[in-house]
């Protein structure tokens, strides 16, 4: 019997190849998209899970609100780890890490500047599961100046030689490190990736007892079953106990005075939340993580894709019912029970689903490299072969088989035999309503996604074209030129003479991309006002960056060194209450050796030195140039200029490779997550509307077939082709219009929420809605028109003769 079901299913599939291909194509695209996104989501959710104690590890983070400035940092003070370990019996162990970026390391005559370097506490590898493959397995970082390096790193420096016991030299500090162990590569799905881990044994900042200075990522290993909330609840008293006594000296006020108007505290963040749920100041993040919101959005898109594909399947199958009605009638007359018919139709559905699944897997394999590119992932193809993923696929076949085949199966099998035989069955009102409802649902999703894509793109365009308060085009950032040492000035002068160069400035501070970062407390008449960003620049900075002064003057050699003068931005002027006439006013900047009195000589127009997600913070500029140089070119043809700069660089005989970044690129990097989301979203928006239109096409085909005779009669009676097209399209287009009414308010609400994340954002105007509606409508109309015009132009005699 089962064999028979499959035989019949296969034959009826062969008989309806056209519609069947539509069905399968839609379903395959749906499943493939769903698979891709699932993989992406699974990967995002897997971050840091490779650690055996993943659920017991928490990171201590710092949050504060001081004079209206919100601070969220992923780093805390050096003594926190030890203090929490001694205060809480639930804390089994604590370990710290401090990021030292990419310093130059050398072995014999080879040196590299791309090794990611961190100091970690000796117990680091007991808490994190990073297995040692060679060397001291138990306690590799016990001794001062010992380092653990990754396998790849060992190969890079030592080739095939045994790395254990070899000495690497940290060039900048001329310090020797001995390799004591080699570990595997840090897994891709880790929130940190370092190549060289040095011991904090003998590293002075690690012994610092100050509670006023944060630079250590601090992780606690909790006893199994410990609730971190309980510990978190006790943290305020710990902070008071340890930080309180130190505050008076640093801030000039007692802890309780400070607490009156400010908030400060330590919090615990589960290890597994770090990747997706971190909103700390970017400079205190080890790596830019993902965003749980996008996980939700993508999961929803995956589900929608699948739903749309299933709906297609169901819709086409029920629409095809009229064709199968006679068969159902005969079978019932021949003694088939309702159940047997249900089995038969389910069998068809399962064959189709399995076939679609196989095609989907092929599509998936083809699309994966493209998707990886887009999502900046390295998801491997063999990911699919995991037993639980395979199980999921089988479950998916069963679920989709039932979901997509269930309704037609029950619907078809309930036909009255006589009515079915006489083909009296016409799509009843009820089934037509259900089908209409499903079409509306599909277009709600398609139209919604199109609108969302348009809004995302508009915001991205806004970011692109926003007046940032500085020029980002034709700007070249050479952050490494400080390596030239005292030859830097000569280098700079050579660049200035190049006719293609408009301005050159020396500064380590760049408003987008990698930049030095500095903040100082600002006091006004002994009263702490606010921490402000400090830019150390030269007198060429403002003209080079294209920043405007709203009052006063720029730094200038004519006025001497300008070393006690300061330029502030508008926001700082506002906070310092210098609104009326800031020039000549002065304030105290907190420095290591007491305070420094600064006099305002100019006010620079607010510029966006942080991402557009955030409001502009107060900033002061000092005439104290150091670091690399920034070049503003006259020409748009940067590559020639870069080539020549490279040649100049080489002529200066530095052992370092020439490196540069283009400010425009760095700026765009800042919004990579959003851009990534935008492009992924547009692809899936396109796919959903494509699949929805496949379904629509199928439905129109059936309607045209069903009304074949009616169309013939109407034509004989003198109806024109446009009238027939209108007749066939009207009902479907109505559904598409209804879907707008549902999709747009929901989408508008959600997209507004997304836009709230940007401090600077577009207003969603009516034009986007019109645009989204037009796109959807035109695509739907073209789909319908193609088929209905064909039906309308057919010779009426053909249709009437068939009866």
């Amino acid at each position: 019997m089962i064999k028979n079901y499959f035989k019949i299913a296969w034959r009826s599939i062969l008989k309806n190849t056209g519609i069947f291909s539509l069905n399968i194509a839609g379903l395959a695209i749906g499943i493939a998209s769903c698979l891709l996104i699932t993989l992406f989501v699974v990967d995002e959710l897997s971050y840091d899970r490779f650690n055996e104690n993943a659920d017991e590890i928490v990171r201590v983070v710092f949050k504060a609100k001081v004079n209206g400035e919100e601070m969220k940092e992923a780093v805390v003070m050096a003594p926190v780890a030890e203090a929490l370990k001694s205060e809480f019996p639930e804390v089994v162990d604590a370990t710290r890490l401090t990021n030292h970026y990419n310093p130059e390391f050398s072995f014999k005559n080879t040196s590299y500047r791309d090794s990611r370097f961190a100091y970690v506490d000796p117990n680091f590898f007991e808490i994190f599961t990073l297995p040692v493959v060679k060397g001291n397995i138990n306690d590799p970082l016990k001794e001062p100046n010992s380092i653990v390096i990754t396998e790849q790193e060992a190969k890079k420096y030592f080739g095939d030689e045994d790395p254990i016991g070899k000495i690497l030299i940290l060039e900048d500090e001329n310090q020797q490190f001995k390799v004591t162990a080699v570990i595997e590569e840090v897994p891709k799905n880790s929130h940190f990736h370092f190549d060289i881990f040095a011991s904090t044994e003998g590293y002075l900042p690690a012994q610092n007892s100050s509670w006023m200075n944060s630079e250590f990522y601090t992780y606690l290993l909790l006893k199994e079953g410990t609730s971190s909330e309980n510990i978190e609840a006790k943290l305020p008293s710990i902070v008071e106990k340890y930080m309180g006594p130190q505050m008076k000296g640093e801030m000039g006020m007692t802890f309780s005075e400070f607490k009156k108007n400010n908030e400060i505290g330590l919090f615990l963040q589960p290890l597994t939340d770090i990747h997706l749920k971190s909103d700390f100041i970017a400079s205190t993040q080890l790596e830019q993580g993902g965003d749980i919101k996008y996980i939700y959005i993508f999961s929803a898109v995956a589900l929608f894709m699948l739903l749309i594909a299933c709906i297609n399947f169901t819709n086409l199958a029920t629409a095809a019912a009229s064709k199968r009605a006679k068969e159902v009638g005969i079978r019932k007359v021949l003694g088939s029970s309702k159940n047997q018919l249900i089995y038969q139709f389910l069998a068809e559905s399962f064959i189709a689903t399995t076939l679609a699944m196989l095609i989907a897997i092929v599509l998936f394999s083809l699309a994966l490299p493209v998707f990886n590119d887009l999502a900046e992932k390295e998801l491997p193809l063999n990911y699919l072969l995991q037993p639980n993923i395979l199980l999921m696929l089988v479950c998916l076949i069963i679920i989709i088989g039932f979901l997509a085949g269930g309704y037609p199966a029950f619907f078809l099998s309930s036909f009255k035999p006589i009515a079915a035989l006489k083909n009296k069955f016409s799509s009843s009102g009820e089934s037509k309503n259900i089908r209409s409802g499903l079409v509306v649902f599909q277009f709600v999703i398609s139209a919604g996604l199109i609108l969302a894509t348009l809004i995302v793109n508009q915001q991205m365009e806004y970011i692109q074209n926003k007046n940032l308060g500085y020029e980002k085009d034709q700007m070249l950032v050479l952050r490494e030129t400080y390596l030239l040492g005292n030859k830097q000035n000569a280098f700079k002068n050579k660049i200035i003479r190049d006719p293609r160069v408009e301005h050159v400035t020396q500064s380590a501070f760049v408003p987008a991309g990698p930049s030095d970062n500095s903040m100082s407390g600002v006091f006004l008449q002994q009263e702490f006002k606010r921490r402000m960003f400090v830019y150390n620049v030269d007198e060429q900075y403002l003209p080079t960056m294209g920043m405007d002064l709203v009052a006063g003057r720029n730094f200038s050699k004519e006025y001497g060194s300008d070393s006690t003068n300061v330029i502030i931005n508008e926001r700082a002027a506002e906070i310092l209450d210098f609104k009326e006439d800031p020039l000549g006013k002065s304030f105290i900047r907190d420095t290591h050796d007491g305070g420094q009195k600064l006099t305002v000589i100019g006010v620079v127009k607010d510029f966006h030195f942080k991402s557009l997600h955030q409001n502009i913070d107060p900033l002061i500029m000092l005439n104290n140039p150091y670091g690399g140089i920034i070049v503003r070119a006259k020409t748009a043809n940067m590559s020639d200029l870069i080539k020549d700069l490279n040649a100049t660089w080489i002529s200066f005989n530095v052992n370092e490779p020439f490196s540069y970044s283009i400010l425009d690129d760095s700026y765009n990097q800042t919004y990579r997550t959003e851009q990534k989301m935008g492009s992924i979203l547009s692809i899936f928006a396109f796919l959903t509307i494509f699949v929805a239109c496949l379904g629509l096409f199928g439905l129109v085909t059936y309607t045209a077939e069903q009304r074949f005779k009616e169309i013939g009669i109407r034509k004989v009676l003198g109806s024109s082709i446009p009238q027939i097209v209108a007749l066939l399209s009207k009902d479907f287009l109505k559904l598409v219009l209804i879907s707008f009414l549902i999709a747009f308010p929901i989408c508008f609400y959600l997209m507004n929420k997304w836009l709230q994340e940007f401090a600077y954002r577009i207003e969603v105007g009516w034009q986007v809605f019109v645009m989204a509606a037009l796109i959807t409508f035109v695509i739907a109309f073209l789909t319908i028109a193609y088929k209905s015009i064909k039906a309308a132009t057919a010779n009426p005699v053909d249709s009437l003769r068939t009866e």
Partner: protein, 226 residues
């Protein structure tokens, strides 16, 4: 074999009842060959469908092999019908996707007959109807007469006690029609009860009894004197 007592069947149109069957009573003995005649719309097909339990009726009693069809449950009715009744249609109603062999086999599948037994039964009937050579063809590849032959073979495969034939020769030429009627006669002589609806006087003459219907009622009955 079966007994219809005062059967009424109507449909409502514009608030008025239109009677398809109007106070119809009929008793059929086992082994009879009955022809139902009447103009289009007189209720021939409706009557056959009611007898075949494919259609409901609104009022009256129907006993089939002593079972009260009007009261028993859907499932029992389906069983009763599956075991005892075979249908032959004017438009043959073969399943287009299945071969001759598979079409004939289908009722056996629904009766859960074992595979080996199915093979034997189908082979027998193919043999008897002389269509062994056509067993792998699809309906579209057969002539009308051949299709109807397959239809009858399919109706007979479950060895029903009653065959209901709704204008079985309606789509056939006279020669094919005659062959089919000869076949029915043969079957009737083997003991199968047959009820056929027909327009053709000639075909009706094959029956042992002719019933004339008009507007859902029996108008006259003519029995052949044996």
């Amino acid at each position: 074999m079966l007994e219809l007592n005062h059967i009424y069947k109507w449909v409502k149109a514009g608030g008025r009842r239109i009677f398809l069957l109007n106070d119809l009573s009929l008793k059929v003995e086992s082994g009879e060959f009955i022809s139902i005649m009447g103009p289009s719309g007189s209720g021939k097909s409706t009557l056959l469908n009611v007898i075949g339990m494919l259609d409901d009726f609104n009022e009256g009693e129907y006993y089939f092999l002593e079972e009260p069809v009007h009261t028993i449950k859907e499932k029992q009715r389906a069983n009763l019908y599956k075991e005892n009744i075979g249908f032959v249609f004017q438009a043959y109603h073969l399943i287009d996707e299945l071969t001759v062999y598979e079409n004939i086999e289908t009722p056996l599948l629904y009766k859960n007959v074992k595979s080996s037994e199915r093979k034997a039964l189908v082979a027998d009937i193919l043999d008897r109807f002389n269509i062994v050579g056509k067993k792998d063809l699809f309906p579209a590849q057969l002539s009308g007469g051949q299709q109807q032959l397959v239809g009858i073979a399919r109706a007979l495969i479950t060895k029903p006690k009653l065959i209901l034939a709704d204008e079985p020769t309606g789509n056939l030429n006279s020669k094919q029609g005659e062959e089919i009627m000869e076949l029915f006669k043969e079957l009737n002589e083997e003991g199968v009860t047959i009820i056929q609806a027909t327009h053709s006087e000639n075909n009706a003459e094959y029956g042992s009894r002719i019933i004339h219907l008009l507007d859902g009622s029996m108008v006259r009955e003519k029995s052949e004197t044996i």
